[in-house]
């Protein structure tokens, strides 16, 4: 038996001018979801059930960019994606291009449990959801007035910042060359919607699990897939640890960040926090992303090189923390 531990995040790359009441609101949601996870762990739920439960709650709350409150595509629709991984047997499930499933993370779980595959996307994922009776709602359910306004601002900003149809020096580097620290993915930080959600848990049996869910990037092209559903990029769990990342998807994919935390522990023998620090320093461009992690020994770890990450932690011995900066 080890002590359980849980960490949640609500995205990395926070606008330094985010109004105080919005910061408080985000912290309250994180604290509520954290407490829900703590209760589940006290009731001896397995890690994989706890991460699903907590991410469902984060998806259902419109504050963060997942489920209800998702960032919008260039066409003004919500296209959500999520993945879940159980360190036990490295089982995993992922979905992309989900438009009507109320809780994408639970659909990812269904893919893991009920399909011969690991990853279903778009129409096939929607069909699979209906086949298994997952709760569905209209796409409008996910769209908030706030995000409609953000999309408008993003479109205005984007026409100036970059346009993928016109090959420029910028497009040569996968859009990663925007160096201004007050921008993320080419968007001004004030309209960038960082609030991908994730949860990592180690239960008292030492089983690790990770889950990540997102609406993706504001004003993204239809069909764009980010890091959140990609095993090894946004989400990873194995016998050693569980990791969930957030930030510029393209940087996280290139760095295979979530897997690399585990790989550094496995192949280099580093401890959890040292592995997280190593990956943030060596595998990630400055200002791009952050991550939360737990180890099978009941440790929690966290790292980010953005200005802020919405996050919360708790361990069985009573340590609780919720923070942004």
């Amino acid at each position: 038996m080890v002590g359980w531990a849980i960490a949640v995040h609500g995205g990395a790359g926070v606008d330094p001018n985010l109004p105080h009441h919005r910061q408080e609101e985000a912290k309250q949601v994180l604290a509520r979801c954290l407490n829900m996870g703590i209760s589940a762990l006290r009731s001896s739920l397995p890690a994989v059930d706890v991460v699903e439960l907590v991410v469902r709650e984060l998806e259902s709350d419109p504050v963060f960019n997942s489920g209800r409150g998702s960032a919008l595509t260039e066409k003004g629709t919500a296209e959500m994606e999520a993945s879940i991984m159980d360190g036990v047997g490295r089982r995993c499930g992922a979905v992309s291009g989900v438009t009507t499933v109320k809780n994408p993370i639970s659909l990812a779980r269904l893919v893991m449990d009920k399909s011969p595959h690991s990853y279903l996307a778009f129409a096939g994922a929607e069909e699979f959801a209906r086949l298994h009776g997952a709760e569905v709602v209209d796409n409008d359910y996910f769209i908030t007035e706030d995000n409609k306004g953000m999309l408008k601002l993003a479109k205005e900003a984007n026409t100036i910042m970059f346009d993928y149809r016109i090959p420029t020096v910028l497009s040569d580097t996968c859009g990663a060359s925007v160096e201004n620290p007050l921008q993320m993915n080419g968007l001004p930080i004030s309209v960038y919607a960082p609030e991908t959600v994730g949860c990592v848990v180690v239960d008292a049996q030492g089983r690790c699990a990770a889950a990540t869910s997102t609406g993706g990037l504001m004003n993204k092209m239809c069909g764009r897939i980010g890091d959140s559903p990609l095993i090894g990029a946004g989400t990873y769990a194995c016998g050693l640890c569980g990791v969930s990342c957030t930030g510029e998807g393209e940087a996280i994919i290139r760095g295979t960040l979530a897997r690399d935390v585990a790989a550094v522990m496995e192949y280099k023998g580093l401890g959890l926090q040292a592995a997280v620090d190593f990956v943030v320093k060596e595998r990630l461009d400055e200002g791009k992303a952050g991550m939360i992690a737990v180890s099978r020994n009941g440790e929690v770890g966290c790292g980010f090189n953005t200005n802020g990450m919405f996050r919360g932690f708790a361990t069985e011995d009573g340590f609780v923390e919720v923070g942004i900066w």
């Binding site: 690991s118 497009s171 859009g175």
Partner: protein
Amino acid sequence: MCPRVHSVRELENNPHFNAGKGSVLTSSGTVEMEACIMDGNMKCGAVSGLTTVVNAISLARLVMERTPHIYLAFDGAEAFAREHGVETLDASHFITPENIQRLKQAKEANRVQIDYTQPMQKKEEDTATADGDSQTGTVGCVAVDSDGNLAAATSTGGLVNKMVGRIGDTPLIGAGTYANSLCAVSATGKGEAIIRGTVARDVAALMEFKGLSLEEAAACVVKERVPKGNVGLVAVSATGEVTMPFNTTGMFRACATEDGYSEIAIWPLTKD
């Protein structure tokens, strides 16, 4: 055009392999192709769910070079293809009579199978090994040029009788395809096992974090990270080494190096 894109395009256009024309069919009898490309400078592009694009690998390259994103899929990827005027053909072009037959057999045997597996009448518990009894049809290419620049590319039609919308390992950076300044890797086999094993990234990670050679790293991943009968890979290092290990019964493979060495094989080579 760079040589690896050219090689993979040729393989896609050859109906004998499970990519482009000749791609295997989904449970609905349709083709859904996917591909991925990555170079040693960590630039990468990927596509999934293509139904009309003649060369998936070239679309992956366009995603890499002409979008702020890495990965586009399904309708969005098709729309992007049209916007850039890449060659498209009616979806029926990609469907071959052999694959209609293969799907029929797979449906009768009620299983999802790798590429070219011939459905054999085996007992239920043999399914795992039966999956391994396949000659892999996903195509991939890795290359290192004389300046040590590396690249990897992989393209596939996926699994016979796969669910519509299924994404395998091929388009996933770090699973089916990976390249960095040390090595380039393209994997093939049972996608779900390769995703879980983060196969392509792990070859590079073992070199980077544990100091293994290319051959040791690739052998370790094939042996330790993926159950027997599920994976094969081709890999090259910046110093010009080549390795092509697999834990299936065979793997279609070929390699050539500047010093004149070349090898084309399907089955394991007998070593002393």
